[in-house]
């Protein structure tokens, strides 16, 4: 079984991201890492191939620094990586990203594509679904657990009303919440081994994509600071804390 896990390099989650003069996120020179949200699906995928055999690859589109995210995936146990980097992809919208990833995945023909429900920096949550449409795959979104039984995917998913247990035949795409597995830390051995694992770096031409395919249709024309919250007070939890909270409730006329 071949599982492709989508991974994303995101600016350091604890850091302060900023926009450049072109209104795009500053990525060069910024600290960053593998999106922590991607580790859950990767962990579960590794568990499945360790049990049933097969191979996990980590697939990404991003700037040169994104290699660090791919390598983290390899250090956790993935067998190979794919990273598409090109200056023309700066400012790519989700459609462009989906086209690039679809082209990168088409030749690999994975049995299962695994992605996080959403990235931790952009939070759009639609990229995997667009990708599934481009690849003609069935999709199961918001999975809280998933398993592969022969040629069938089984998953529990969240819905607006509650939960659903679903099944579909492979190949398929699944997006997962952080509930699917507890990610492992890469071992020292894993980190060393990652350095000799293959990372494919296809160009846009290799992927059969032209200028029109990767032209983003979203352009930030202006950016302004959101009105900042002022006037908040922070106190230590002392004997008066409860009374202060009750005062606020009374001011709001809810008690």
């Amino acid at each position: 079984m071949n599982i492709a896990v989508l991974v994303k390099w995101v600016p350091e989650p604890q850091g302060t991201p900023s926009l450049g003069p072109d209104h795009l996120l500053v990525r060069k020179g910024a600290d960053g890492a593998l999106d922590p949200g991607d580790e859950y699906g990767l962990e579960r995928s590794l568990q499945l191939v360790e049990r049933d055999g097969g191979e996990v690859s980590v697939v990404s589109m991003g700037p040169e620094v994104a290699l660090a995210a791919v390598q983290r995936g390899l250090a956790m146990g993935a067998s190979r990586g794919v990273l598409v980097t090109d200056d023309a992809l700066r400012g790519a919208d989700t459609l462009v990203t989906a086209r690039v990833l679809a082209s990168a995945l088409r030749s690999a023909e994975p049995d299962l594509v695994v992605a996080a429900v959403e990235s931790t920096d952009g939070y759009t949550g639609t990229l995997p679904i667009t990708l599934a449409e481009l690849l003609g795959l069935p999709s199961v979104t918001f999975a809280t657990s998933f398993d592969v039984d022969g040629a069938e995917l089984r998953a529990e998913r969240q819905t607006a009303a509650g939960t659903e247990a679903v099944a579909c035949s492979l190949p398929a795409l699944v997006t997962v919440t952080t509930g699917v597995a507890e990610p492992r830390y890469p071992s020292l051995k894993g980190v060393m081994a990652a350095k000799s694992k293959p990372v494919d770096r296809p160009s846009l031409t290799d992927l059969g994509l032209g200028e029109d395919d990767v032209r983003p249709a979203q352009r930030v024309v202006s950016a302004e600071a959101a009105p900042a919250k002022t006037g908040g007070r922070v106190i230590e939890a002392g004997p008066d804390a409860a009374a202060e909270i009750a005062d606020l409730l009374a001011e709001a006329r809810v008690i």
Partner: protein, 321 residues
């Protein structure tokens, strides 16, 4: 004239309020508002959608439209879009909204803008980024219709008392058939107490509550205050302490109560976008560096296991409950 369409999330028990918010905004942007209501409950939704400004409602009650991949709904919508050429289609940031919009983008090749909070015109959307610290205006280009997913509660719904004409829609099967994902079992999470949507007060718990038992402290305080709903951060939901229906944040509910009290929640971006519109915000956390303290009108740094019961006692004393 600009033609704005909205996607209405419908179910047998009614239309999601997001549809009324979107219809109200659509009316402000263009004259001609079309609503698309696909799935069981669609025909019953026509009247309410008309009341909020939709002039045409494309409907089908067909069960196939709610299969889990949303492929059937997306391809049915794609056919409608190809026939009627709207300039923009607005979607709610909901489970179905995301799935249908994401699939539709793949079919039509038109751009999809997520997390929008405003739509100045059919070619412009505004969105909050970088944790709500920055507002960007984005020009939407490429083939129409532009697809825009709106954050919940970005607009106040406004009923204008209009009536809509219902147009029956033929279901379109996607290439390769439709019944790819089978639902083996459905479990509905029973809602108890006031809903997150309407309650005056929302008490939300996170990882700092330590486990499902920690939520009892919130329940006791909720009972003392009255008209109070309980919510949770994604960390508490992912840990399995409480059901997903209680989740507040990007991938959950967006709430704007009179008072929002966060207990043991750090206030990551994921959570903040779902609650920062609250009128008054109280945060109790042991971490003096927690981002939630920057959003709070009143932040209390300390042990919530002491503070919460003390607040409950104080509220009981004042209200006599």
């Amino acid at each position: 004239m600009t033609r704005v369409w909205i996607w209405a999330d419908v179910a047998p028990d009614g239309v999601a309020p997001s549809a009324f918010e979107l219809a109200t905004k659509a009316r402000a942007v263009g004259g001609d508002v079309g609503a698309v209501a696909l799935g069981p409950g669609a025909s019953e939704a026509v009247e309410a959608l008309g009341d909020h400004g939709a002039t045409l409602v494309y409907t089908s009650d067909d069960e196939r439209l709610v299969e889990p991949t949303s492929r059937v709904a997306a391809h049915t919508l794609a056919a409608l879009v190809a026939e009627h050429a709207p300039d923009v289609v607005l979607f709610p940031s909901s489970y179905r909204g995301r799935d249908v919009a994401g699939r539709l983008q793949g079919v039509t090749g038109s751009t999809l803008m997520a997390n929008a909070v405003d739509l100045p015109s059919a070619d412009r959307a505004r969105a909050e980024i970088l944790g709500g610290t920055t507002i960007v205006e984005v020009a939407l280009e490429g083939p129409r219709p532009h697809l825009v997913m709106m954050r919940p509660r970005s607009f106040e719904p406004d009923a204008v008392g209009g009536t809509a004409e219902a147009v029956a829609v033929d279901v379109v099967d996607p290439p390769g058939g439709s019944s790819e994902v089978r639902v083996l079992e459905r479990t509905e999470t029973a809602a108890s107490g006031p809903s997150l949507d309407g309650a005056k007060v929302v008490l939300a718990g996170g990882r700092g509550l330590g486990g499902p038992d920690g939520f009892r402290l919130l329940e006791e305080l909720a009972a003392a205050i009255g008209d109070t709903a309980i919510g949770a951060s994604r960390a508490a939901v992912d840990a399995g302490w409480v059901p997903y229906a209680m989740q507040i944040g990007q991938t959950g509910a967006t709430v704007k109560p009179e008072v929002y009290l966060a207990a043991g929640i750090s206030g990551a971006l994921q959570h903040a976008v779902g609650m920062k519109g609250s009128r008054r915000i109280v945060a109790i956390t042991k971490d003096p560096e927690a981002p939630i303290l920057k959003l709070a009108d009143l932040g209390v740094v300390g042990d919530l296991f002491h503070v919460l019961p003390a607040v409950t006692e104080e509220v009981r004393r004042r209200t006599g409950r």
